[in-house]
């Protein structure tokens, strides 16, 4: 074969322009700003990575992200990024260290596998928010969809509004603070971790039980609210794993069904 291929394809099979940094940001006083309205997903991510890793910029503003998918994934650097608009699915995944603000909403699976840092979503989030979260603080000021913090392994998720079904599904560690109401099956099949709920709970999931409130809970919630300027925390109830379902005894799986 000869000649260069001018079109590449992204993971969804869609044609994308060849992967080149667009170099569209303006930089003033160490702060970079660029408009993402006419950029593809790949161009936005290349521009971001170029600014942060190649040019050493630690303060970036991305305007008009337009709910595009997979934006800002894999940023492993302490820096500030502000998205002025909304993100689509799988945004901000696999990040380690940045402080991020999204002024709009985010789609499914924001901050999947986040390691550390702080992410603040000013509006709503879709389902699977903070899936497999490992560390850091994820704050959603609006509502979230279903299965928030599914498979969560650490970190803290704070939701200002309501949460959907199966919140904390198969959660293993970490905390969630939901100020509004939660849907059915809260904490279903959770291994560990703590769920705090301010509103009503439609139903508890398998092996999720109400826990005893301690001074450590008060300290944690107040500290998180203080750090993030969220005001005084409202009264909350605490839910934890009942530790009957998984690996806490020597019963065979068929015998567990009888126990539960």
């Amino acid at each position: 074969m000869s000649g260069s291929r001018r079109i590449t394809y992204d993971a969804r099979g869609l044609a994308e322009p060849i992967a080149e940094v667009p170099h569209v940001a303006t930089i003033e006083n160490g702060k970079a700003t660029f408009d993402a309205a006419d950029l593809t997903i790949r161009q936005i991510n290349l521009e971001l990575r170029n600014l942060i890793y190649e040019q050493g910029i630690r303060d970036v503003v991305v305007q008009n992200p337009g709910a595009k998918h997979s934006i800002g994934v894999g940023i492993l650097q302490r820096c500030r990024i502000r998205y002025e608009g909304s993100l689509g699915y799988f945004g901000l995944g696999l990040i380690d260290g940045p402080e991020i603000t999204v002024t709009g909403r985010v789609g499914w699976s924001v901050c999947e596998n986040m390691m550390s840092g702080v992410v603040v979503i000013e509006k709503n989030a879709g389902s699977l928010t903070g899936a497999a979260l490992r560390g850091g603080d994820l704050i959603v000021k609006g509502d979230v969809g279903a299965r928030t913090g599914i498979d969560q392994k650490g970190g803290t998720i704070i939701v200002g509004g309501d949460a959907g079904t199966n919140t904390g599904f198969m959660m293993q560690r970490g905390r969630q603070i939901i100020l509004g109401n939660v849907g059915p099956h809260l904490g279903d099949s959770m291994y560990d971790g703590t769920l705090y709920v301010g509103g009503t709970v439609r139903s508890l999931g398998l092996d999720c039980v109400e826990g005893e409130w301690t001074d450590a809970d008060t300290e944690l919630v107040e500290r998180k609210f203080r750090i993030h300027g969220l005001g005084d925390p409202p009264p909350l109830r605490k839910f934890v794993c009942g530790k009957v379902l998984y690996n806490y005894d020597n019963l065979e799986p068929s015998e567990k069904k009888l126990v539960i």
Partner: protein, 309 residues
Amino acid sequence: MCGIAGIIHRDGSSDVGTEMTSMLQSMKHRGPDSAGYALFGQPTELVVIRFKLADANDPRDFDFSERLERHRQEVESRLHKIGATVDRVERETEYAYRATVRYDGDMKALADYLESVPGCEVLSLGHSLEIVKDLGDAQQVSDMYKIGGFEGTHAIGHVRMATESDVDISGAHPYWAYPFSDVAVVHNGQLTNYFQWKRRLEFNGERFQSECDSEIIAVYLAEKMSDGDSLEDAMHKSLEDLDGVFTYMAVTKDALGVAKDEMAAKPLVLYESDDLVAMASEEIAIRAVLGREIDTHDPYEGEVLVWTR
């Protein structure tokens, strides 16, 4: 995976053909196999019949064209025989047609009579509903059927990644809720009690044109509405009766509804204003129409929402 989209102008009308094409094309990655539209134009006294006489990927044997023409003539002849006054029969593609007729008789009798012509499938029938679906992406289907410029009040659409049945027009969405005029459905998901419901509904005399599980929803709603349920009541009942994961949209001549299963396993993003409601599997589809910053949210598990004009 599949992608679904819906838009309703609550007061007035718009080029819903172009709007729906933009929405569906922005979700092309969710389903490249086929694309389909259920478009509602201004209600007319005429009955609009969308039908096809072959599938896009049927083998083209020597007498294919001649056979199609013979069957088209038979359809026209039967329209006359059943008492319909034919206004126009237009050939949209090699195998798909749009007919307008004056007819005030029984819609089921009309549909059954036409569908007994070999190869004939009535895709839609009504005073304002027109279902268009074919293989390819939304732009290709729109170009083929000249969807752009379709002035209407509301529409739903679908891009399909085939998982449950063949890649053909019969397996493409939307599904018309036979024999109800002006009712259609699009669905994203899988129904696990499909065969159970198909047997029940066939026992009750309902007919199915495809092997696609999604067709169950349209026929299910049609049967419930024939028993006197409103669209919203029928949709609420479907949450109890249908197993599996689904988000589906249903439309009638003056309403658009959406339902999500109890696990909320399939996505839906919703934008609502006083004069416009738009929804889709992904927000980018809504932005393809609105093109500005908007506030959206995801409906919750077990929700049924219906908007009327």
